[in-house]
Symmetry: none
Subunit: 118 residues, 4 copies
Amino acid sequence: MDFNDKKSIFLQIADFFYEKILVKTMKDNDRVASVREMAVALEVNPNTVMRTYQYLQEQQIIYNKRGIGYFIAEQAYDKALAIKKEEFINHDLPEFFKTIDLLNINIEDIKKYKHENK
Amino acid sequence: MDFNDKKSIFLQIADFFYEKILVKTMKDNDRVASVREMAVALEVNPNTVMRTYQYLQEQQIIYNKRGIGYFIAEQAYDKALAIKKEEFINHDLPEFFKTIDLLNINIEDIKKYKHENK
Amino acid sequence: MDFNDKKSIFLQIADFFYEKILVKTMKDNDRVASVREMAVALEVNPNTVMRTYQYLQEQQIIYNKRGIGYFIAEQAYDKALAIKKEEFINHDLPEFFKTIDLLNINIEDIKKYKHENK
Amino acid sequence: MDFNDKKSIFLQIADFFYEKILVKTMKDNDRVASVREMAVALEVNPNTVMRTYQYLQEQQIIYNKRGIGYFIAEQAYDKALAIKKEEFINHDLPEFFKTIDLLNINIEDIKKYKHENK
DNA sequence: GTGGTCTAGACCACC
DNA sequence: GTGGTCTAGACCACA
């Protein structure tokens, strides 16, 4: 992870967890790396990781056991899917349609890029 | 224009011009509203408009005639299309594919949303 | 003439006259094109040409006969040479030396570029 | 720094950094003073420094670490040299040759001035 | 603490 | 009238 992106670092880290959950690498009640471990691993300020964890906790994707650590919440997969899907349909997709219209790109053409990308 | 978006105002104004050019409302050598006029029209500080204009000038979408004003550059359409297409293919599209994979959405499904949106 | 330069247009026009005088294309008491003619020829606002003429008049490079027009002043060549030489030695040259030092370029190397340029 | 020059302040500050890099006072990955520090040091508005930093960032002379600050980019020396050399050869030098031709100055004469200057 | 954006208002050179 | 630069000061998100 490089964090060169315009997106804030704490959100990029959050996406990292979303991904792990959506591909089922991380499952309900799995332990999450401690703030300090994560900060060292990512070469990032612990405050930044802390912020990610609080953000994920607000979304009920992880939960905290005081003095023990953070864990993946029950039904994290469903929640993550719902959150990301909502985001996709209400934000990404409309923008996507607007852009391809403006650029005169056909949806059919998109598929080609998909295969090229692979 | 409302500027409720998270994107910075000066970039939203830039996109406003990109759009005008891509739908061919503005054509080569058309005069662009003066910094002050634009600022009044958008209810925005002149400095903000200035920033947009310098940004567009760097991208060679507009050019300046000393003491007279800004004008749409030659081949602005081609340049705008190239810039936005590059952005779309190298940034938006990979992210798009990654997201739909994660969310288990098929490209075919996307088309339905398109029609619903219309 | 294109006036794309960062230098102001009226000074670029002034330089045009300096050059004519220094290569002796224009000589003492030659008539200078009228403000309007010049403005049309250069596709420039008459005010801009006017400013050039006033500037050259201040430097006593041209003089005005009321109702008749502008003319090259006596000894314009000597004056032009003196002005430009002063400018060169006190402004251009020090900057020139500073730059070649910074870029680690030897004066001897400069000669090569001269020949390449020709 | 005095900023008496006709050049804009933010570009003079940029040149200040170019110089530091070209004389190797500043090296790759060195931290650059924060916008606020620099503004205080130069007795200049933070916005002005900000503008310099963004200008240098576009030229890839410095880069930003989010929330931490600006740093000298990798190979900043090479880039700075290339930029300034390009400027010198394509802009300063042709003008230089034109001027000395007009003024009937020989390149050999230039060397004398160099020694007088020192 | 860091950068980033924006406003308000001023001043300047130039056309 | 035009753009261009700068100041002063504010507010925000982020690390």
